[in-house]
Symmetry: D2
Subunit: 312 residues, 4 copies
C-alpha cells in the first residue's frame, strides 16, 4: 500500500476531528475509521462512514419509537431469529461506506454486485497512478486440473520467475506508453511541447488489467453480508477474497451480534437438497448408503460427503 504523505495527512486530519452526535455510535468501529487496512501489494480498504448498529436492526424489526430497553440477550435472540429465517429487511437499515483501492480485474468482479452505490476514480478525467498488482510467489498458481475456474498447485522455479517477469514488464511498459501518449507529467504540463497528447479517455485503454483503480463503495448490511458470503468463500478468487476478509473484520467490530449470527447461520451453514436430506435420514436410521442408489450424482455425493466430513 502506497499512501503518499499528503494522503496520510488528510486521513490523520479526518481522524482527529471529532464531533458530538445523537446518532448511535460504535466505538470499536470509530477506532478503525478512515484508516487504510492494507490488502494485496498496493491496495487497501478503509471505512469512511457508517449508519446504525446491532440495536438499529432490532429497532427496525420492532418499528419502535426509541432505542428500546430490552435485555441484550433478547436483542441477540431476535437478531439470530431474523438471520436464520432470512428476514432481510431489518439488516437493510444499517449502511456502510468504504474507500477501496483495488486492481481493475478485481473491480470487474466486484461491480457485478449491483445493489450498492459506487463512485470510481475517473480515468476519463484524471491520470491513474503507476501501480500494478503483482501476485506474491505463493499466489502464483497453475490452472486447477479438476475445476475449470480454480487454481491448482503453486508454480515453481523458472516458470514462476518467467511469469513474474512478464507481468512486471508488460504492466510497466503499457503504463510508460500511456504516459507517453498522454504527453503529460504529474503537474499536468506537456512533456514534449511539440505534441498535443492523446485524450485521457483514449490513452487509458493501453493499461493492463492489474493496474490499480479506486472507488467509494456504499451498501447496506444485508447486501454487504450477501457480498461477503460469496466473496469470503473458499471458492472465490483469492484476490477478491483478500478484500472480503478485511471487510469481515470491520463487520465484526461494527455489529458483533449480527456478525456472530452471520457466522453461525451463513458462513458455517450448509444447504442440503431434498435428495441429500433423504440420504442423511437413511444414514441416521442406520442404513449404509452408497452413491449408487443414493439418488445423488457423483458430484453431489462428493459434495455431501464433504459437508459431513466423511470419505467419499
Amino acid at each position: 500500500m502506497a499512501l503518499t504523505s499528503e494522503q496520510q495527512q488528510e486521513i490523520e486530519a479526518a481522524r482527529t476531528a471529532e464531533g458530538r452526535t445523537r446518532r448511535p455510535t460504535v466505538p470499536a468501529l470509530e477506532a478503525m475509521l478512515f484508516q487504510a487496512m492494507p490488502v494485496l501489494d498496493h491496495g487497501f480498504v478503509r471505512v469512511i462512514d457508517y449508519m446504525g448498529d446491532d440495536a438499529a436492526v432490532v429497532q427496525a424489526a420492532r418499528v419502535s419509537y426509541g432505542r428500546g430497553t430490552r435485555a441484550a440477550n433478547e436483542d441477540r435472540g431476535l437478531i439470530r431469529y431474523l438471520m436464520r429465517h432470512r428476514h432481510s429487511t431489518p439488516f437493510e437499515m444499517c449502511e456502510i461506506k468504504y474507500h477501496v483501492k483495488l486492481p481493475i480485474f478485481v473491480a470487474r468482479q466486484w461491480i457485478r454486485h449491483r445493489t450498492a452505490n459506487v463512485n470510481e476514480y475517473s480515468a476519463r478525467y484524471s491520470i491513474l497512478d503507476r501501480e500494478f498488482y503483482i501476485p506474491a510467489p505463493e499466489q502464483l498458481a497453475a490452472q486447477s486440473a479438476s475445476n475449470r475456474q480454480g487454481r491448482g498447485e503453486v508454480l515453481q522455479g523458472e516458470e514462476a520467475a518467467r511469469v513474474l517477469d512478464l507481468l512486471r514488464r508488460d504492466a510497466a511498459q503499457a503504463y510508460d506508453h500511456y504516459v507517453e501518449m498522454l504527453n503529460e507529467d504529474e503537474a499536468g504540463n506537456r512533456i514534449d511541447p511539440s505534441r498535443r497528447g492523446l485524450a485521457r479517455e483514449l490513452a487509458r485503454m493501453n493499461l493492463t488489467l492489474n493496474t490499480y483503480t479506486q472507488w467509494y463503495w456504499k451498501t447496506d448490511l444485508h447486501n454487504l453480508l450477501h457480498f461477503l458470503s460469496l466473496r469470503a468463500d473458499p471458492h472465490a478468487q483469492y484476490e477478491i477474497r483478500a478484500y472480503a476478509e478485511a471487510m469481515l473484520r470491520t463487520v465484526e467490530a461494527w455489529v458483533p451480534m449480527v456478525f456472530e449470527a452471520f457466522r453461525d447461520y451463513r458462513m458455517g451453514a450448509v444447504t442440503l437438497s431434498a435428495q441429500m436430506l433423504a440420504v442423511v435420514k437413511r444414514m441416521l436410521a442406520g442404513e449404509a448408503v452408497a452413491q449408487e442408489g443414493s439418488g445423488l450424482s457423483k458430484r453431489e455425493w462428493r459434495e455431501l460427503m464433504g459437508m459431513l466430513g466423511r470419505e467419499g
Copy 2:
C-alpha cells in the same frame, strides 16, 4: 399526532444520549433528530439517522482521501454542476432514515418508489392502533372537472358534512369489528373468554384504507430527491405532498448546498420538448406564434404558455 407519553419518553431518552464520533455531523439536523414533525391529523415524520453531508457528496465525486481543503464556493460550484448535469452517483453517497406514521392509502402510493429500504409495522403480528385519517374541511375537494386524477373545488355545507360523517363512522365501525373479531384487548387478553378470536392476519382485512400504519424508511439522497421532486409537486395528491414538504425541511437542514441546487435545477426547472424549444426560438426572433402552426398540440401549447407565464 397522538404519541403516548411512553413513546414521548422513549424519544426524549434517545435525544438526551449523546456520543462522540469521527463521522461528519450536521448540527442543524442533529437538532431535529428523533423529534416527530406532525403531518395530517395523526401522522408524523421523524429523522432516525443520517450518513454524510454536503462535503460527502464532494468527497465521493473526487474520490478523495480526506475531507478536502477547498473553499466552500468550490464545493458549491461542484454540487451545482453535478445536479445540473444529472451526475447522480455522488448524491447516492448520503443516506437518511425516517420513521413515518401515515394512512394506508398514502403508504400504497409511497411504496411504489422501490429504491428504498422499508420495515413496516406488521398487522400480521401486532394490532394496529385506533387511528384514521379524516381530511380537514378545506381538503374535502370534489373531483376535478378537467383532470381525471385531480381535485376541484372544496365541498361545502351538507355534502361536506355527510362525507365527513361517513368517513368517520365507517372507519370507526370497521375498527370496532376488527377488535371484536380479534377478541383481544390491548393487554393481549381475551375479551370474551368463550371465543377464540380470529387470526390477526385475517382480521386486518376489515380495516379501511385511511387507518394509520407506520414504517421505517431509508433511502439515499439521490433517490430521496427523486421522490421529493414527484411528491412535493403540485400534481401530487395533497396527503402525500404533506409528507414530502416536511421531508424537504429535513433536507434543507441536512445538506443546504444540495438543497439549493435541487431547488434551482429541479423544483424550479422546466423541460422544453424539441418542438417547444423551436417555438421559443421563433418567439425570441420576434415572430408572433399561435398554437396553430406551432407544431404543439393544444395541451402542450397550454403547458408551454403556463411555463412562460403567458395567457394561452
Copy 3:
C-alpha cells in the same frame, strides 16, 4: 372470479391472434397464455407475456452465439449446477409478465418484493369494482397460540358465522358509501345532480382492505423463484400462497428443467447452521445427542428434529 363477458371476449380475441416469431417459444405456456387461473373467491392470475425458456438460461450461462447443439441432459446438468451453487444471473435472462387480481391486503404483502415492475389499476383515476375477499369457512382460522404470526384451529359455529357476517357487511357498507361519496354511476354520470361528488383520490380511503385491486406484474425468473420460495412456503399467509401456487404451475409449464432444479434444491432443501451440522455429525457417529449439550436453543433443536423427521 368474475370476468365480465366483455373481458372474456377480449381475452379470447387475444388468444386467437397468432403470429410467427424467431424467438424461442414454449408450447405448454402458450396454451395457458392470457387465460385467467382462478385464485380465492374473485381473484386470478394470468400470464400476459414471457421471454426465454430453459435453453435461454443455458445460452446466457455460456454467452453463446446460437441456441446450442448440446444434448438435453447436458443442459439439465448445467441448470442443476447453476441452481445448486446459486449462480443467479443466467436465470435473470428469462422474464414473465402476469396480470393479477388480488385483495389489497395481499397486494401490500406482495409489493414488498421490490425487484419487479408493477402497474396497478389507479383508484385515483378510476373507480374500483364492487368485489371483496371473504374467506372460505375452512380458512377462517383462530390466532395461533404458538406462533405470533400464524393461524391456529378453524373457527366454528356462531363465532365463524359472526365473523363472516361482519366481513361481508362492513365491506359492502364501506363500498356503498364510497359510491355515494363519489356520486357517480358506472357510466360516469352524477347520481344526485345536486351534489358535486368527492374526488376519487379521497373517496377510495373509505374502502376496506379486502377490496380487490389488480395489476400487471413483471419480473425475471430468478426473482420470481425467490418470490415463490418465500410465498409458496407453508409459513406464508394462505391468501398469498394461493397465488404463489397458481404461479408455480406456470413456471412448471414454462421452464420444466429449471422448475425441477428449483424443487430439488430450494423448495425441498434445508439449511443447517454450523451448530446443527455439528449435531448431525455427532449423531452419524453414533452418539445419542439431546438438546442439552447440543449447542442449540430449544427452538433450533425443534427445527432440526423437524427437518430430520424425528420426535423433538
Copy 4:
C-alpha cells in the same frame, strides 16, 4: 467484426427456426433478430429476444384485459403523455435482450448502469480471443483544452502514427504473453509440455483494457431509454456512443411510437433552471439581458445561449 463461420452458422440456424406464438410480435424487429450489427472494429450488438411492443405500454398503463380496440392515434397520444410526464412504469413492461461484443474499457462504463441483467463471458473459466480495439485515425483525438473529460482536435502525422503503433504493439505483446503464461493452445492442450501454465483467473490480468469481451445484457424499455439518453448524447465517449446509436435503431424498429416520443421529449429536449427560465421570460418581454445581471454563472449563460442557438 470477426465472426467465425461456425458462429455465423449458429446465427443463421437460429434465424431460420420459426415458431407460432400468441404473444405480440414486431415484424420489423423480427427481421433484425440475432443478426450482428457491426460496431467499432471488432464489436457488435445483436438482439437476442424481446417482450412487448408499443401496444404493451398502453395495455399496462390501462391495466386492461385484452390488446384494446382504440384507434392508433389514441395510443400514440397516451404514449406521448406518459413520456412527457415521466410516467415510467408502463415503459418498464417491455423488455429486450442483447448480445454485445465490446472493449473492456467500454464495458466498464456500461456496467455502471445497474438496472440491467448481465452475463459476461468469463475469463476465469475460458480464454479470451485475440482481438483489441484500435481507434480509426479520425477518432484519434487530443485531450480537449476546455473540457477535462472530452476530446479536442484529431491527432495528425507522426504523433498519430506513434499512438497507433503503441496501441497495436502493447495489446499484441500483452496477449502473446497471456497465451504464453496460460501455456494452452486453442484446443486446450499444453503448448510446452514441461510447464503447468498459469491459472486463467490470474493470466487475464496481463491483458490491456482495449481487449474485447462480450456479454448478454437485458433490460426494460424505461431503463434502456435512460441508458440511451446518456450514452447516445454528444457528451458521451465516442466508443460507447457507437453502441448506443446501433441500439437506437433497434428501438426505432421495435416500438416506433415510443421512439418518436423519446426523440421529441428526451433526446431533443432541454431543461431550463429556475434562473434560466427567468432570463427567457425577460428576453421574451423585450429586455436585452446580458450575462452580468442574468443571475447565471458564465458557464450557465453559455449553456443557455447554446440551447437557444444564440451567440454567447
